[in-house]
Symmetry: C2
Subunit: 401 residues, 2 copies
């Protein structure tokens, strides 16, 4: 019998308990031994809950119980999850987490701690919810030099942008509807400003490089400035607007970025809609590959946590290889990163725009009083200079080919 | 130093040597020890090849060398690959293969043999080329009851169908072009008749059930009867025609099938074009997930073989869990499987068709002298009876919703 404790009986934590309950037979078979929930840590009581008697309020009950070998940390946030995870690992208990903030902030330290104590710190659920992506990066793409990752990593923003594209609606209206449906938080900042996607691409970038990519170093831009008018142009261009989180390695240069991009209909990420997520990975031998699925939600995320539990059970007493060193990666200054830009300005500035930006592709769409175009490839810095010279940019969106 | 031998220096075998050569540093890091090619088995000589001195003609040199711990079997076909693989495993050498025929025919026996000898028989490259799908099935989706797999598993047929869709061309013309480009074999039967996809879905179905799904039991229909006219209708219906390989489990019933299907634009497999492959997996907790990439080709396939080599190196002396018993799965009689059918008949049979098939959805398209419609859901047997009663079916294609 493998005894599991769950820290935090919220959405994901209760999902973990449900997944283990519902698929007990399969999971125990795959784990090689029967799996059971011994404790659930939560400050609240759950009268009437079938697992009521498992609920404890003191983490020490769990951390000092030698029968508990695997802990699911589904609390979210840095503290107390960080302290609890460290203590668990130091006592040789493996930790499986869905906590992207904690993984992005303290991943390498917790991985090292697991190694020193012959246990595991696994975090499949921290990126892409139910999509297996961490394990493919660590176990499957081991013959590859991965040079590019491009992801739609946040379900809330993808839902909002998909709705805006389909209905021609404005950001604020769709956000309100998403909040009513429970697809967006009452305080939606972490999603719509791109902070959530930033944590996730920091984790994937770290696994890609084998070193530490600090999320604080990643240029991050959200979707709050995207309007219905931008989608009118996108449609005319045969493109969609997606919040992309990307990492690129090129001859020693490395950068990561989160921002809205216009992507063409031929791009596999074009048809990733609603709350679905997808991660597009390019390797030097494999070429393109993509992983697609539900990026959030109680059961998909819990399923990923439980797949980590199974992995811990299979590797009891042994640390699974994971390359994520504490050494920080020096990111290329974003000012030097090159893109093409879609630009909207006032109709009366057409002549000046052509003078300032030179060779551009003019975009014809049914928008009164505007002049819109796509620039040649240029650095962010060059673009900023030209935009200032032009004097009025109604909006600008980067182009992904 | 981990010494690897490659059996068969053809496309995939030479790719394995190339991948290990080009990404040696990464691969050795991931494997935990330096990897090197010690032998290449082939009947031919390769004068001037950088690995010329590694080439041997006698498999016994490899099988009796205690320094060789991992063997890549990239010969294809049943014999002598089967005998060589058995002998390798019996001497405790792990085998990594791209040989779908052998895996589909003798997988469970070779997996058991590996287990008995504390080594591994791994076959990531046997399905979906470079797409990580075997490992996600075995390692990642361990908390799931998988109830449906739907795959585009053959690059040649997907290339042909994509071309037919894009250009309105006929099967024979596109096949000829594909043969000229090297995308189709001179004898294309294994691809265009669906036999290749059948082997692959047999492997995935076996991993899905944990038992043995015999490829001989799987109903298999190729794409040779698909015409340019079918694509005229498909376009009018907002659908595409894809060769799907599928497995479905429903309340103890299980069936697998390979056949052309019409799929809607909203289906994630709709935009999988050209030589790309994709596998769509549905789990009871996770919902939909998809794995997409290059389904064939020298380097993608070789990359998958080498990822298995890395896995063997990481698990030296230990057998990685794989559930694929020798017990055969009893498949539901295909006559009892239900689908909707797209049907083309002669214009003069319109009245009779409506009498025989009852409630149908009539398809309007610019095709002279024909009447086309989509039936309600019915069993294959019912459909066959009604088609006989109608007397003339120009073509019929199953519908995937």
């Amino acid at each position: 019998m493998i005894n599991v404790a769950v820290l935090g009986y919220g959405t994901v934590g209760s999902g973990v308990v449900e997944v283990i309950g519902k698929n007990k037979e399969e999971i125990s078979k795959k784990a090689g031994e029967e799996l059971g929930i011994k404790y659930i840590l939560d400050l609240r009581e759950f009268p009437g809950d079938p697992y009521e008697d498992k609920v404890v309020h003191d983490v020490d009950v769990i951390l000092t119980d030698p029968d508990v070998s695997i802990i699911c940390e589904t609390m979210g946030g840095i503290e107390p999850a960080y302290t609890f995870s460290k203590r668990a690992l130091m006592s040789g208990k493996s930790v499986c987490t869905s906590n992207k903030e904690l993984v992005a902030s303290h991943g390498p330290e917790l991985i090292r701690l697991a190694k020193e104590n012959n246990c595991n710190y696994l975090f499949e659920a921290s990126v892409g919810g139910g999509i297996p992506i961490i394990r493919p990066m660590n176990y499957s793409l081991t013959a590859e030099k991965i040079d590019a990752i491009t992801g739609i990593l946040n379900g809330t923003t993808n839902y909002i942008l998909s709705k805006m594209a389909a209905e021609g609606a404005d950001f604020e209206d769709v956000l309100k509807e998403a909040q009513e449906k429970g697809y967006a938080e009452r305080n939606p900042e972490a999603d719509v400003e791109g902070y959530d996607a930033c944590r996730k691409i920091a984790i994937l970038s770290s696994l890609m490089t084998g070193k530490n990519v600090r999320y604080e170093d990643i240029y991050t831009e959200g979707i709050t400035k995207i309007t219905a008018t931008d989608f009118v142009y996108a449609k005319a261009m045969g493109r969609s607007i997606k919040l992309l989180a990307l990492s690129r390695e090129n001859g020693g240069d490395f950068y990561a970025m989160v921002a809205p991009f216009m992507i063409p209909v031929s791009h596999p990420l074009y048809s990733v809609n609603d709350v679905f997520n997808a991660v597009f990975v390019h390797g030097n031998m494999l070429g393109d590959s993509m992983y697609y699925g539900r990026g959030a939600g109680k059961l998909p995320t819990a399923s990923a946590v439980v797949s980590d539990v199974v992995d811990c059970a299979r590797h009891a007493g042994k640390t699974i290889m994971c390359f994520w060193d504490t050494e920080n990666v020096k990111l290329t200054d974003v000012a030097q990163v090159k893109h093409k830009f879609f630009v909207r300005t006032k109709a009366e500035l057409e002549k000046k725009a052509l003078e300032v930006f030179g060779s551009v592709g003019v975009i014809e769409a049914d928008v009164a009083g505007e002049f819109a175009f796509v620039t040649d490839e240029m650095t962010e810095k060059e673009f900023a200079g030209k935009a200032e010279e032009l004097g009025c940019v109604l909006n600008r969106i980067r182009i992904e080919s």
